[in-house]
Structure formats: structure tokens, C-alpha cells
Symmetry: C2
Subunit: 656 residues, 2 copies
């Protein structure tokens, strides 16, 4: 019919309006200066995004929050050798400080000094301490050296070290790259959002800095990131116990093959300040013509540790180009059925602060009216398409990859190349708490997507993450930017336009069933997964019913006078089903995380990156006798089953 013909025209126009050079221009502009959250250059990027939106005649606004950020004042690390020689570690990247790049630091690290023998902690995981202990290494009172990459957050690495008497932690990124002098900045705060307003939007109640609820967000000992080169100068001089075989085999940088402690001593000092700063979320709103109260959200953070060419402004360039292209469609007469909101977040690097405060402030409306949240952080890191979704969005994403050209192979669609490379469709899930989707999915239960091209880029959070790196290595011709922009923009278009939301919950049910099989292999006797499998059956049945209902509604669309209201009723169920996975109590010990299917594990080593309640109950085994342990797991199985049942109820929409 007319309306779907129109939509098709606009979808095609969106695709054909792609341009590499606009993307390059936006990225160039955004990355001229380092723009750490809370600084003037960062405010300038907010104004740039705002004026871009405004110049396109999009309805634009900025929402500011005053939040607690953290900056370095002074740092030094010196090595004192038995022979009296002293080596001062280089803590900054070469030449970076005169350009306004912030000295490497860990945001929210406490200030402090330490003087102790160095010991290598590998990834700082529980099993690494077990290995050290097996070698007879005493680490109490030492300065720890840890490499990133074992599945723990920076906060967890520092806190686990502190619990064992380590007095300060040095962290480096072990890689084969030519960026040995690069230093990976990062936050060591636990939890998301402004530490002074845990669970509610900043701007109202503000906890004091010495409130225990604030203090527990920060590590108890100081830490600093160092370059691989600096790490090597420690590792190559370590004596003491032998490095465990597995560690040695996986090390990419050179070392003495020993873990310490000593024989030399590390003199560590870090001083930082925590201070209130204003962060700026910038929005462009394209108000829906028929259902203005249904929101499709596209989000990307804007703040960067340094220049942010990859992280996050490759995504920002994409967001600005989508704005340009949507504005073009609007000039051609387009108005989406539902409201589309482009969100440019601030202070993600400090702990998803901009997005989290906004989600906390708008929880009740987001919870009842959001269709989906589509995140893009590091849009382009290199080759290869790596999407993550909540499973009901798999079909839509797959369909869209068939419309977009592959950036790295002439004449192929993204779908063809992507599925060939992976021998099938390969979509990741969203249990990680590593970008702005976390508040939307884990706290508010909004179906989510996270897209990126390439992975594990070597200049992550270093001074080398610049426009020149992007044009030399990441995406010289910006065709990967074009591809990710196409997928992102089409996803939002379809979600905003399709009369019936393109959600397939049967995929969700199948995914949950797979999880159950993995879990089943892991669990011992006496624990029953039946509650979960029964709930999945309910979800699958509701999903099938819903798909049939959707088909019937599509067939009757033109003849039924109440079609609009009926679509809306079905869409309400499709939209709200994800919210069923939320549990009001949240995860044990992390009550802010409400989602029972996707969320953070307490144990970064756990094989289970789903059902976080169950995963955490399994890893909390120590200290419980087997009966209590099994009961705790069984209780989490019930909680997870009830969450899945709630999703099934929401999808079915009927009372018992």
C-alpha cells in the first residue's frame, strides 16, 4: 500500500545518501583536540554536535548534570635497585603532554604513596593469586603489577590486590603492537553513573563525598596505568619465584620469567582530585507523527580520554551523518511514525555517567515507552562486523545487513561477507558493562543493540587514538564508517516505521534454551533447571502466538478499521516483554542491575556470560556448604525462571 511504498522510498533514499567525506569531516572536526569530559574542549564538542543538529533544523536540546569527576594532579613511579641506581618510569606518552592530552591515570583512584617490592600479578584474578601462592610468593606490602585482559574490570583488579595487602597497583596492556609507549587510561570506579547520586538522576539529592555509599565505589588503594615499555622495565628485572608456565606462554612483552617480589623497590606516588564538573548530553528529537510517545533511541558517547578518533568519535561521526541523512529525508516529506532520538552522551569514560544519569532521571517514561536503544561506541576499530543485540532483534539486524554494502569487498553485501567470515550469523550478547547500553538494558530493560567494526584496536585509551591513526589504519577511506552508519540508521528507521515492531521473541526463547543447556552441563545433581525450561516453553508459546497475530494483523491492515489500535496493543506487548526480565530486587550485591538474563558477573572468569544471578550464585560457592550452595543456586534459578515467565506474560498480555 501507499504507506509502505513511502517507507521503502525513504529507506532507499537513506541508503543512497551515504557519503564517506561527510563522515571524515565530522571525525576530523571532533578529534582536533583532546576532549576529556568536564573540560572546555569537551564542552566545545557538545556545542559542535548541538549546532550540527540545529543547522539541520532538528529539534535539539542539551541536558546538563553536575557530577563528580576525577583528574590527575601528580604522578611518579621510580624503581630503586639494590645497586643504588634509580630508574624513573615514563608515565606519559611521548610528546603528548604539550598537546593537552591528559597524563595517564585511573579516574577515581585515591591519592597515595607506596614504597614496596614489585610483584607481578598476571591478570589479578583469583586463580592468579592461587598460582602465586602455590609458588610461595608473599605479596603483602608489595606494589602489584598487573596486565589487563583477564575479564576483570580495573576496579576489580585493584580491589582484589588490595584485599591481599598490595599497597598500589600498576596496570599495563600486554600486546604485540608497535604502541609500546601507549598507556591505557581508564576508570577504577565500580558501578555506573555519578557516585554522588546512586540510583537516581543527578541534580537532586547529593551524597557527601565521605558517605559510605560513595566511598565504596572507589578502590581503597591507589593505582596507575603504565605503558608496556614501562612494564617491561619492571618485568625484565624481577627475580624471585618463576613465572607460571601458562603466564609465560601468553605474555607478549619481554620479561625475566620471574614474578618477584623484588629485588628492587618501587616508589609510587599518585595524587588526583575529585571534583564537581558539568557534563552535557546533547539530543536531537524527530517527533513521531503517529506515535510520538514511542521512542527509538540512538546513542553514542562523545567524551574521550584523548582525541577519541576511534573511541568514541567514529561513532559520533556516524551519529552526525545519520542526523544529516534523516534531515534530508525530512526535507523530502518524511516523518517517522514513532519518535527517534539521537543521543550524544558525555562522561562515558568515567563510568557511563551521562547516559546513566539520564536513564535514572527518565526511568518511568523510558521503561514504558522505549522501543529500543541502539548504541554505537567505537564504531570503527578495523575490519570485521561485530554486532551485539538482545535476541529479539537478531532477525531485523540480519535482514538489514542484506541491504548494506560490505565495506571491504566490492560487490558483496555486508551480510555475505559477515556470514562467510563466521560460517553463519554471529551476533554477540550484551552482558558486558562496557558502554552506554548498560543503563538501558541492565537497569531499564530496553531491548538493545551495540554495533562495531573491528575489535581490540591497539591504541585503546591512549594518546595515539587520533584522526591520523584512523586514516592510516582504522578506516582509510571511511567505508567502514559508511557501513556501520548504514546499519545503525536503518535499524532505527525500521524500528520507528514498521507498523508492527520487528521483534522475534522466538529467537530469544531459543537463545535462552541454549543457555539452559550450557548451564545444565555445568550443574551437579540435586539442582533442577525445570523452572527455567518450563518458563522458556511459555515464552516460546507466547512468541509463536505473537508472530501469528502479527501476520494476521498485516494481512488485515487495509480492511480493519481498528487496525491502528490493534497494532498498538500488539506493539505494547512486544515492547514490554523485555521489561519482564527485570527483577525489582536486582542482582544480589548489585541491586542496580535488574536484568536477570544479561548483566555483570562477579567472577570475570566464569564461563557464564548470561543469567548473572545464577552465575554469581555458582561462583559464590566458597564458604558455603554444598547444601546451602545448591539452595542458593536453586533460588537464583527460580528468580531467573520467574523473570522469563514475566516476559512470557507480558508478551502474551493475559492475566491468569
Amino acid at each position: 500500500n501507499q504507506s509502505s511504498q513511502n517507507t521503502l522510498f525513504f529507506l532507499n533514499t537513506f541508503l543512497s545518501s551515504a557519503t564517506n567525506y561527510t563522515l571524515a569531516t565530522y571525525l576530523r572536526h571532533l578529534t582536533l583536540h583532546p576532549h576529556l569530559a568536564g573540560t572546555t574542549p569537551s564542552l566545545n564538542t557538545a556545542l559542535y554536535v548541538k549546532s550540527h543538529f540545529e543547522s539541520l533544523n532538528l529539534q535539539t536540546h542539551v541536558t546538563n548534570y553536575s557530577v563528580l569527576l576525577s583528574y590527575p594532579l601528580f604522578s611518579s613511579v621510580t624503581l630503586h635497585f639494590p645497586n643504588g641506581s634509580v630508574l624513573s618510569l615514563t608515565l606519559s606518552e611521548p610528546g603528548s603532554s604539550q598537546n593537552g592530552v591528559i597524563k595517564p591515570y585511573h579516574a577515581y583512584s585515591p591519592s597515595g604513596s607506596a614504597y614496596g617490592k614489585p610483584v607481578f600479578l598476571n591478570y589479578g584474578r583469583e586463580k592468579d593469586y592461587v598460582a602465586l601462592s602455590a609458588q610461595g610468593v608473599k605479596i603483602n606490602g608489595c606494589v602489584g603489577l598487573a596486565r589487563r585482559g583477564g575479564g576483570l574490570s580495573r576496579n576489580e583488579v585493584v580491589e582484589k590486590a588490595a584485599a591481599r595487602g598490595v599497597t598500589a597497583v600498576l596496570m599495563f596492556t600486554d600486546s604485540e603492537s608497535e604502541y609500546a609507549s601507549g598507556v591505557e587510561r581508564g576508570t577504577v570506579m565500580s558501578g555506573l553513573g555519578d557516585p554522588l547520586s546512586p540510583g537516581w538522576g543527578a541534580g537532586g539529592e547529593k551524597l557527601r563525598l565521605d558517605d559510605p555509599r560513595v566511598m565504596k565505589r572507589f578502590p581503597s588503594i591507589p593505582s596507575l596505568p603504565i605503558s608496556m615499555a614501562s612494564a617491561e622495565s619492571i618485568l625484565k628485572s624481577l627475580e624471585g619465584a618463576d613465572m607460571p608456565y601458562e603466564w609465560r606462554m601468553s605474555m607478549k612483552c619481554s620479561s625475566s620469567g620471574r614474578v618477584g617480589p623484588g629485588p628492587f623497590v618501587v616508589n609510587f606516588t599518585y595524587e588526583g582530585e575529585r571534583k564537581m564538573a558539568t557534563v552535557h548530553n546533547v539530543f536531537a528529537v524527530i517527533r513521531g507523527s503517529e506515535e510520538p510517545d514511542r521512542f527509538v533511541l540512538l546513542g553514542n558517547h562523545r567524551d574521550a580520554w584523548t582525541y577519541g578518533a576511534v573511541d568514541p568519535n567514529s561513532g559520533t561521526a556516524a551519529l552526525l551523518d545519520i542526523a544529516r541523512r534523516y534531515a534530508l529525508l525530512m526535507r523530502l516529506g518524511w516523518n517517522p511514525r514513532r519518535t527517534i532520538i539521537l543521543c550524544s552522551w558525555d562522561a562515558e569514560e568515567f563510568g557511563m555517567i551521562g547516559s546513566t544519569e539520564w536513564v535514572e532521571q527518565n526511568l518511568v517514561n523510558l521503561g514504558s515507552k522505549s522501543v529500543a536503544y541502539l548504541n554505537v561506541d567505537c564504531a570503527v576499530q578495523g575490519p570485521g562486523f561485530f554486532p551485539s543485540t538482545t535476541p529479539q532483534l537478531d532477525d531485523l539486524l540480519t535482514e538489514i545487513t542484506k541491504k548494506v554494502n560490505d565495506p571491504d569487498s566490492e560487490g558483496m553485501t555486508l551480510y555475505e561477507r559477515w556470514t562467510t567470515a563466521n560460517r553463519g550469523i554471529r551476533i554477540q550478547r550484551l552482558s558486558g558493562v562496557d558502554s552506554d547500553f548498560a543503563s538501558f538494558l541492565h537497569h531499564a530493560g530496553v531491548p538493545s543493540v551495540d554495533l562495531y567494526y573491528g575489535k581490540d584496536f591497539p591504541v585503546y585509551h591512549t594518546a595515539f587514538d587520533s584522526y591520523s591513526w584512523m586514516v592510516n589504519f582504522g578506516d582509510p577511506f571511511f567505508q567502514r564508517h559508511v557501513a556501520v552508519t548504514g546499519v545503525w540508521g536503518l535499524l532505527a528507521l525500521r524500528l520507528a516505521e514498521d507498523p508492527i515492531l520487528p521483534f522475534n521473541y522466538l529467537t530469544y526463547a531459543v537463545q535462552l534454551q541454549d543457555y539452559t543447556h550450557i548451564l545444565s552441563d555445568l550443574l551437579e545433581g540435586g539442582i533442577s533447571l525445570h523452572p527455567i525450561t518450563a518458563a522458556i516453553q511459555e515464552l516460546a508459546a507466547a512468541a509463536i502466538e505473537t508472530l501469528e497475530e502479527a501476520k494476521k494483523l498485516k494481512d488485515d491492515e487495509t480492511t480493519d478499521e481498528h487496525a491502528g489500535l490493534k497494532q498498538r496493543m500488539l506493539n505494547d506487548r512486544l515492547m514490554l516483554a523485555e521489561r519482564g526480565f527485570l527483577d525489582a530486587e536486582g542482582l544480589q550485591g548489585k541491586p542496580w542491575f535488574k536484568h536477570m538474563v544479561y548483566g555483570p558477573r562477579n567472577d570475570g572468569e566464569s564461563e557464564l556470560d548470561f543469567f548473572p544471578g545464577i552465575a554469581n550464585a555458582i561462583s559464590r560457592s566458597s564458604g558455603l556448604n554444598s547444601k546451602e550452595h545448591n539452595e542458593a543456586i536453586q533460588h537464583e534459578i527460580w528468580r531467573t525462571a520467574r523473570a522469563i515467565q514475566r516476559a512470557a506474560h507480558a508478551l502474551k498480555g493475559e492475566l491468569t
Copy 2:
């Protein structure tokens, strides 16, 4: 227009179809036998209600739950006087046991014996113990005698006594009535719903009886209810300290004017059993023609301690008569716009178990799709109209009372008599946790109403609450039943039919402002109510906008082709605003209670029967120094303010 003409016709037909004799017939039938939850006669009432609904061709279903109930096995209380004489208290009402009336008991009381001197505890409030202590009365090891009525629940009376070393509690109802031999049964469980499934629907995970989460629901010492006559035989023989002047002046029964302990000794024994029983909720569903996914719920419990003529079957008769009259309208061609559900709950007397399990099981759909819950428990206790509502429903209720005839004065409307008696409109609020609305409002945030005629009826929970009491005293001609049925049925009709929901949130804002003034007089300096007053401003502004929008939509109804969708969007906001008052964390120490405006106080003596978080923070003063105390109150003020702000956001419907 045509549709509103039609609606008017059906409203009038509903009103004119009232009959006293059908109500009397239903009540007679329901009260032929005592029908305590979990017993066969109770199942028969479920079948009666079910077959009534079915005979009217209403879509009917029964939802069963297996839950833990509690029944008495043996009880005896003897008084052993210093002169060697022994008096055995009569624990049952005269002649009641041969009729199948359950022996008076406290549901969920632990079994146990006690042998100790009696002491009179008055209402068992904190200040009563202060008064006893001031008189030098030692109560440790004594058997306590308490009268009902001080604002505490039975559970609280028993637990406060246990905390002071009392070994068993006897409870009586002090009144001037001729029912001195009546005994008030009741539950001593704390919290709502099946104790084995706290927070989730029964039928899945089931806690063990010895689980601490179960055990804490029950008192730690046994208790029994006794008649006023039995209480007098103790009170008249007490010696020891003088009864405080205030207590003596308010006592309706005779006493020695002393509080004990002793001189005689009470030998107390209670044995009961807790056992699994099946409870039956019966539903009739009138599916909405245009918005089947919006629910207007009418609920009443069906189970009774004895015959239940007042409590609750005067309400059940009304529910059955509404079913009859709605079925009549349907035969005349009526189909409501939204879905109407008639709910007949079981096991309310044990702790709102039937309704709570259902609400817990259906939380996600009720939370997103319920328009309102309209409760009637003891529909008719005597003369006088006593309605309670959440404030956005005041206007609708008032309007409806103008359509219904007053049952006690010829030629007057209910409105005229009601407002004359009270010199204006007098509507109570719903902080009490005393009938089935509690789960809907306090846990799920559904706008609620509770209606009754008369109050403080003398045969409450006794064997005398029978059909003959109703025809002799309560409502001889059933005209009060007719009135309450009219109000109840019209409320549901309007809520199911009005194209725009008849909610006025400005009334809510005004009510909240009044609360703030009361609070302001109570609080000391250093505590700011500004967060709340600012949030109320936001709510009031959103309410005014919404009223204007509703007016405009009504004016444009016939000309705007998208009117249906626009109404639905506005209605969604009106429907969801109440949900904003919910806080995911819930009340401190009572996390199941999520509503920050209406909910239970920890301190039954508190003047504040609103803002329970704040009220409880104020009454938790003991043990905190003033600074901490003020901070705790301020934190609850912030939590309450955020709840009001969420309601404002939901009503306004816009993101920041």
C-alpha cells in the same frame, strides 16, 4: 454523539436495574454456612460464585493456589486463684461450635503453653509499656491481656509483648455492645500473601516452613482472642498497680482498676496446625471491545471467619448483583470499551492471600495495563457512606454519588446526604493494609478505591456476623446494599467506558500539598521539604496540562481521524502516573511495599498516615543521634520527592 448516547443509556439501565431482593438472596445463600478459607463449605461458595457468573454467560475462570493456612486444634485458658479455685475461660461463642463455626483463634499463632501471672497491657503500644514501667509493673514472664484498637496490627501487639518477655497474649475487643460473648478472630501473620512464596506468585518456588524468611512472618509467642466477657473475668480480679487514668477512662468493660500482675495465675495452652490448603479466586471477564488490554478490576473477598454476612459477603452479594446487571446490559447490546474483571478473592482473612498471590503472579501485566482496582470488603456494616480512594478518583466518585439514591433518606441523592453529614466531601485514603486493595495499590501502584457503608460493626470476626444480624441491624431492607452496588458498578462502568480516563491528578497534587503542610508543622529545622514541594509543582503543572489536553481531545473527537490513538496515548499517561509513586527499593525494612505516598507505618501511633517512608524515618528516631536522624528523614524526603517527580514525568510523558 452516538457512542456517548449509548453509554448514557447503559449507565441509566444499570441504575434502574437495581433490586434489593436479588442482593438479599445472594447474601442468604452465601451465608448459609460458615466458610473459612481452605474448607469444603468455602469451596462451595467458590462454586456458587462461579456458577452464578456462568449462568449469566460471563467468561468465567478459577485460579487456584496451594498456600499455607493455619487452623486451631486445641485451646484452653484457666485462671488459678490464690484460694485454690480454678476458673476455666469460655473460649467459644455460645452454641457456635455445633454449627461448624471455627473455634476462635489467631491464624499462624505458634502452638505453645504458658503459665504466668496476668498483666493488662492496654493496647500494647510503646507508650502503654512506658506507662506500665512508670507504675513499676514488671511484665517479664507474665501472660499479657491486650485490648484491640490502638492502631497496631495483631502481629505487632504480640511481637511488642514478646519483646518484653510476655509468654502468651490474650486479646479482646473492648466495646459497649451486647455481643460480650463474641470473639474477634484474626490473623497474627505479618506481611501479605502466602508465607511460603514471599514476593512471587504461589505455585512455583516454595520456601521450607523453617526458612527464616517464613518464620519471621509469625509471632514468637502464642496468642488467643477471647470475648469481652472472658476478659472481664480477668480484669475484675487483677490486683497490683493502679490502671493509668487515661486507660481507665477509655475502658468500656468493667475492671478492678488495677493492671496486675496477678494475684492469680493464667494457664494458657494453644495448639494449632499450619497446613497447605487450596484457595480459589473466581473471575468473570467482560472483554473490552476496543481496548481489551486495559483492565478495570472490581474485587471482593469471599472467605469469612464465620458466616461472613457483613465481612465480606455483603460485598460479594454486591459483586454478584453487578454481574447480573452487567449481563443484562450485555443482552441489550452493551460491550465495554475496556475489559472489566470481577474478582472474588479467597483467604483474605489470613493475610490477603488470594489477591496477593494473583497480583504477584500477574505483576507485569497489572502494572502496565490496569486502569483501576475497585475494592469492596464489608460493603454494609450499618449507616453512613465511607469511601476511600487514591485522590485522582475523587471527582469521579463524587460525580457518581449524585446519580445514586441515598438509602436512608427518601428523595435525597447519596451525594446530598453524604456531604451534609460531613459538611462537605469526605473521602479517606488508603494507607491501611486492611483489605485486598493493598497488593494493587501498595505493591503494584494501581489507582484504587475501597467502599463501605457503616463502620465499626460490633460483630466483626465473631460467630454473630450472620444473615440474621444483617436483616435485624445492618441493612434490614438491603437498600444500603443497593447504594453501594450502584456506586461500585457505576465507577467501573465509567472507568471502562469513558474515552478519556476520568482521572484528575490536580486533586492528587493538592492532597500532597496538604500532606506537606502537616509534615512541615511536625519537622524541626535543618530538614528541607523543598524537594517535595518542587516535585508537587511539577505534578500540578503536568496535571493542568493533561486536563487541558483532555478537554481539547474531547472537543476534536469527531473531527480528528487519529482521535482513537491520541486518546490512548493520553490515557496511557493517566494510567501510568500512579505507578510513578512506586520505588523499586520499597519501604525500609518492608521492601514489598513500594508506594511512597500510601503504605503502612511502622508506628501505629504516628499521626502521619501518608508518606510512609518519611513517617517511619521519623518514628525510628530512637538510637540515632539528631544529625543522623535528620539525615535519615531528609533521605526519605528525597525518595518521596523523586516518587512524586516520577508520577509527574509519567503524566507529562516527556523525556528530559
